[in-house]
Structures are given as C-alpha cells and as structure tokens.
Symmetry: C2
Subunit: 342 residues, 2 copies
C-alpha cells in the first residue's frame, strides 16, 4: 500500500473554469491485484476536450462526476506488477513506460486504455512525453483530421486555427511536408514566429488583425480548400466565407465555445455550406485509435527526418495540473500543455 | 419570325421579392438557325434556387442580370427544327417534348441544357410536367441528397424539412419505400394531411408547434440519423439537437434564409457537429446530372408501382410566373409549383 495524489472535480464549472472547481486528494493505492500493474506516472497531459466532459451533458462520452477523479492521459513506468499477461504483450518489466488513463501520480489498473509496449520511447527513440502530444492522441488527431476527414488532395490550400497548439502545429507541418500552401491563425508574436519557423506560408495573428475574414481573404485570394477547425466562432465564419466550392472542414474542436454560458452565436453564413457544396465533418479521435500504429510509424519517421518538430509548455507537480488546464482556455500554452510529475 | 413572351428580371430583389422585380416582355423569335430547334414550351417551373441567382453574389452559378431573362426549367414541344443531328439523338420530330432552359413561351436553342428524347413522356408514360418535378430536377435532388449525400443506411431515422415540397415529398417517399421511419415538417393542415397520406410516420406542423426542438425530440425519442435540410434556421438547430452520433445532414436548401437582409442568425448549437461527429454536406444538383438516367428509370418504376405520388400547384399563363415564384417563399405552394403555358 502506497500513497498517491490525484485531481478530483470538486464542482462543475459554469463558464470559464477556475481553480476552485478542482481539489487535490491523497489516496492509498493498494498493491496490484492479480492481472494488474502499478504505474508511476511521469507526465500528465491536459487537453481541451476535458472541459466538455466536465459539463453535465448527455453525449457519447461519459461526463466527469463531481467528487470523482478527472480522467485524462498520462505516461509512466511500471513500478509493480502482478501480471504475467497484459493485453497482447506477454509480460512487463519494471520501468516499462505505459500510457495511462487517470490523472494521478500512481495508478493501479488493468484498464484497457493502458496501451503498453509500442508506445515506449525505446521503440521510436522519442521522449516519453511525445506520446502525449505529437506522437500520441493530439498528433493522431491532426493526422486523421487532415488525411481521413478533410481528405487532403493535391493543390489544396489549408487553413488551420489554433495553429500553434498541440494539434494545429502538427496539422500545419503535415500539410507543409505534403507540399501544400498553409495558412495558420494563432495569438501573439511568439506563436506566430514559431509558425513561420515551421514553414507556415501565411500567419494570421488573430489578436491584432482586424476583421478575420478580410485577413484570411487577403492571404488566400484564391480561397481555401481545407479548414482544420479547432476554435469555432469568428474563425468558422471566416473559413466559410473564404471556402472554395467543395472545400472540406475537419471539425476537431471549438475551444472558443467550451466555456460559453447559454448558447453562443452560430455562424451567420452557414448558408455557404449549401451554396458552395461544402462538407463539414466532426470527429472524435477515440473512434480512430485503430490508426495509431500506422500513424506512429509515419510520425516517428517524420520526426527523425527533421520534418516535424513541436513545442511544450510544462507545469511541474500534480498540484499544478488545474493551472495547466486553465491556461489552455487563456491561450497561455504554446504547443503541448504538459504536467511533469517527477 | 414569331413572337414569344418571357419574364425578365427588372431589378434585384432586396429581402422578399415582389412583383415589381419582374417584367413580362414580348420578343421576336427568329426561325431556328442551322442546328437549332424551336420549342414551344408547355410548362415552366419555378424553384427556390432561382432566388439565390437573383442576388449579386460571386458564386459557382452565374447570377441573373437585371434586364435579362430569368433562367429556369421548362418543358415543351418542338415546333420547328433546323437540325438533323442534336446531341446523341439523330433527329427531331415536330411535337417531341424537350426540357428547356429559359422561361419563355417559345425558345429557339441549341443550348446543351436541352435534354431531348429520354425525357419525353412516351418513354416513361408520365405526363410531361412530371419531368419538371418528381421525375426531373427536384426528384433527382431528393434521390441524390438522400442516397449519395446523406448515404442512407438501414435503420436510419430520417427527418425532412419542407416535407410537402417538390423535393421534400419525394425524400419522404423514397425513405418510406426503403423501410425507414420518417419525420416530416410542413406548415398547415392540408400539407400535414398529405404527408400522413403518403406514409410519413410523424408529421410536425411547424406553424402550430411550439418549440421545434422539443417537438422533434418528442416524435424521435431515440434521435435522428439523417436530416434532409431544405429550410435552415430553427429547423437546422432542432436537427442538430436531435441528431444521433454520426448523423448525416444533406444540405439541399435553406429557403428561410434566401430573403434575409444582412446576415441571419446561425445555428447556435453548431458545436454538436464536433460533439456528435456529424457530417453536414451541401450539394448542387447540377453536379449530379449524370445520375439522371439511372434515377429516371428507378423513379418511373416506383411511380408505376404506386410507391411515389406527388402534388402540383399550378398557375396559368406566363404572366403569372412571378406570382408562382413568390408563392414559394410564402409557403403557398403545395408540392411542385408549376406554370402552365398552354
């Protein structure tokens, strides 16, 4: 029996979440039961989708319950094992890295969300936290959204919102390495400079530009063919306005809407969906995890070839996980937002 | 040289069109030039899409120009021919029915939009005006939207707006003959009774129901899987609210928006596209005309088997074509809106 600390949802946020919505709780973790392993997490991830689970909604995904731990991604090492067979891998070594499914310092689990083995850094030569970002769920989200949902075609002009984020920055780089003209929107000088650095052709700083539609049409005078949607609101209207006929929108996230109280304004030019034969398609990356092995092979190759890079913003200690989470909604993360546990 | 009368756009409508936006003009039609035929139109059609062409927009479709004739569909008989070879058909007989492309009593044309031969009623045993409705462009729109865009799957619950219209009533009947549960929205007792008559499972009279979302959820407690969008506005919000995960929306029309001055409100719950992995796809039937022969074979068989029926609302004389057109936007048509020329 050892102790661990975990973050629990204290109350459902109304509007913008704040630190009072969370509490840090010390818990006892028993020795793993037969079939279980015990994982000491090294890194935790906080991601925008977690906000939606904190709302009381009937949706495909179970909502987080007040008084219960907040679920999210983590990666750690096996500290104790009472398993000789776990999934398709015959046995575990102490120290093996595992992707976990709960935000805590130590997790004991036979939870199938633990994806052992092929995620460890020894296979791909990447640091473990990369599997929470560029080579994990956010990277897969970029890859699936661009290639499977938006069905990127030769010559497409690609517009990406939240382009310096964990997902958006990978979208930009995949589109660039495939030879596309890429337009990225981000907020602030540092993020925009990073986008230039990774080869984005036209960067829009939405915090200082005036009318976003005008700004987009200015850099995309012949229109856009693909829009990777991470933010919603004014960006979606601009993309609808600039879309060419038959443009495809991968609707990945709408972070500007997550903290809305009541119903936010909808895109007033939604009629372009009809007038320009557009396709808007939302997706939940959880339905595409079967692509993970193919994606990780391709992504690790791109990283080693120097074609994909990434940024991390790190908070230290599980007690700062809520801080990390809240920064997502203030645009204070730059690339992947992570919490380093030890 | 004979005379004909045609409808011209006098001025671009602002908001709801009115009779003053149109004028009836008498023109001289010369004897057909070599390669041309002269068609005396029997029936003209007015359709909602024509409203969008009257606006000054940069879009895929050419806009109607003030002072010029309004283009639309018509079907008529060959009155004179100076052609021995027209398209793939070797020759024309006087009296052959042709689908035309201009709103006029007599048209002389070698316009490729004239689709001769396989549209004539003698082939399918249907009255000629059926090829302006159930067996023509509106019917094809229903067939393509439901089967190719919404990709109807076994078990889908289908919601149709403007369900008693030329397109919507065909959508309802195709979905019913394929065994689906169908929910139709229309305005007024007569239209709703017709929907019941053609087998629609649940009919919503949007003019008397209170909250449309509540009404839809009441008749579709397990949600909808396909939405055939003809109207926009509150109906789109209701469909987004009631949509099941992976629902597909065929965005065919948004007639409630066509006369908007300025930008109308957008769907406030657009975030469901992401949250429920929805696909919203707009389409322009002009890009699917290659399906016409297959569609017409199938549709004429369904009609002769008694599986598909239709309603017509008829105005008489070309001078009443603007009246017929304006009725579309006041919901005063019941099924296909037609103008009988002689």
């Amino acid at each position: 029996m050892i102790t661990s600390r975990e973050i629990r949802l204290k109350s459902r946020p109304v509007g913008m979440p704040n630190a009072d919505n969370f509490e840090l709780v010390t818990v006892s973790v028993p020795h793993p039961a037969p079939g279980e392993v015990q994982v000491e997490n090294l890194w935790m991830t906080v991601d925008p989708y977690m906000r939606n689970r904190m709302a009381h909604r009937t949706s495909y995904a179970p909502s987080s319950q007040p008084g219960k731990e907040v679920h999210g991604g983590a990666i750690g090492e096996i500290a104790a094992s009472n398993s000789t067979m776990y999934g398709w891998r015959p046995s575990f070594q102490l120290g093996d890295a595992l992707e976990g499914g709960a935000i805590g310092e130590v997790a004991a689990s036979n939870d199938p969300r633990f994806n052992p083995g092929d995620l460890v850094s020894s296979v791909f030569g990447l640091p473990p936290q990369a599997f929470l970002g560029v080579a994990g769920m956010p990277g897969l989200t970029a890859w699936v959204g661009l290639l499977k949902i938006a069905t990127l075609k030769p010559g497409d002009v690609v517009f990406v919102s939240v382009a310096a984020g964990a997902v958006g920055s990978v979208v930009c780089q995949i589109a660039k390495l495939k030879g596309h003209t890429v337009i990225g929107s981000a907020g602030g000088t540092a993020k925009c400079a990073f986008l230039k650095h990774i080869g984005v052709d036209h960067v829009i700083d939405y915090k200082v530009t005036g009318d976003l539609t005008e700004a987009l049409l200015h850099v995309a005078p012949t229109g856009i063919d693909v829009y990777f949607e991470n933010v919603g609101g004014e960006h979606l209207e601009a993309a609808l306005a600039a879309a060419n006929p038959f443009a495809r929108f991968a609707i990945c996230g709408m972070i500007s809407q997550y903290n809305a109280i009541g119903l936010p304004d909808g895109p007033r030019n939604i009629m372009f969906v009809m007038g320009k034969s557009l396709r808007l398609e939302g997706f939940n990356i959880a339905n595409y995890f079967d692509h993970m092995p193919e994606f990780q092979r391709e992504m690790s190759r791109w990283i080693h070839e120097g074609k994909i890079t990434w940024k991390e913003t790190i908070e230290h200690g599980i007690e700062n996980a809520p801080t990390a989470f809240l920064k997502l909604f203030r645009g204070e993360n730059f690339g992947k937002m992570l919490v380093k546990l030890r």
